[in-house]
């Protein structure tokens, strides 16, 4: 008997094949796996975007919040009404009438102006004029008493 060569024997391996039925289920499973991968990839991409945004915003958020608070204090707001009770002083009615906008640079003049404003408030009730006070730096005594008083029409 003539024995086969090693090469002949190894060629036998080429005849070890799965059936046609196997390939049908193989294709179906592979399609499922591929689609799962696509969905997983999309989810991963979405979560990666969220993670990146969070990573960027986490250190920025406190700074942004602080900046917002600072801006809220510094930018004049029409809605902010002073709780400061003006001193009613009717000694100089003509001053308020001729100077609706002014900035005072001393505690004395500030009080003077406010006193005049209160006069204006009272004087302007009938004509639809009112006054609002905004304090730069939060307190007039801290910045040398500089107080901005604007008129709203």
């Amino acid at each position: 008997m003539e024995k086969p060569t090693l090469e002949d024997l190894l060629k036998l391996k080429r005849h070890e094949k799965p059936s046609a039925e196997f390939w049908r289920s193989f294709d179906r499973e592979l399609r499922e796996k591929t689609l799962k991968t696509v969905v997983h990839q999309q989810r991963w991409n979405a979560s990666e975007v969220v993670r990146t945004v969070r990573r960027v915003l986490t250190p920025v958020f406190p700074v942004a919040a602080a900046a917002l608070v600072a801006v809220a204090f510094l930018v004049p707001s029409d809605n902010f009404q002073s709780g400061f009770t003006p001193i009613q002083d009717f000694s100089e009615p003509a001053f308020a009438v001729h100077n609706p906008y002014f900035v005072s640079d001393s505690v004395h003049s500030s009080h003077h102006a406010l006193a005049s404003d209160s006069h204006r408030v009272q004087a302007g009730v009938g004509s639809g004029v009112c006054f609002a006070e905004h304090s730069l730096g939060g307190a007039s005594s801290m910045n040398g008493g500089a107080t901005v008083v604007s008129a709203i029409f």
């Binding site: 008997m1 070890e16 799965p18 592979l30």
Partner: protein, 212 residues
Amino acid sequence: MGLLQSVTKPTQAASAQVASADSDADWLLVQRAQAGEMAAFNVLVKKYRERLYSVIYNLTANREDTADLTQDAFVKAFQSIGRFQGRSAFFTWLYRIGVNTALSHLKKNRFRRFLSFETLQESALKEDVFTAMADDSGADKSLFMNELQERLNESLQKLSHKHRTAVVLFEIEGLSHQEIGEIMGCSEGTARSRVHYAKQQLQGLLKDYIQR
């Protein structure tokens, strides 16, 4: 000799042309798959699934694992097809993914291995050399073939991963030493030496069944 050369050269040239045309067709399909066309990738799967399955099966000798590993290899190829630049043939790139997937699996599961073989197709029984052997042995032909198949697979599993890969790709898949080098990430010479050494070992392991 002159006649042999004149016959061989056009044959080689023709096969090179076929391989080149095949490679070009693959590259077009790859480009369509890279553009997001799933149908193009499915064509590539249909074209190479049996060959990739065969490589992985001959490395693992376990048909249940092979089905999963082949699918995993295709999924990996699908995931990274965007990075394929066409510097090598598509099938070389795909085989590399398949071989790496199979070898990683073998390394992970080296302590719990069991073998399960595919059924030999009817065509194997028609090979003259095996028919003659079966007749001489006096055993039932299919039983004899199954025994031969078992011995062969066991012997292959006794080889190291590198030698097994080299001999499977060369003798069973019919790849060239250069292609094996590309797939295994080694030189052509190293691939040649691995095939030679693997065959020497197999000769020793299968001495009762083969010619010296």
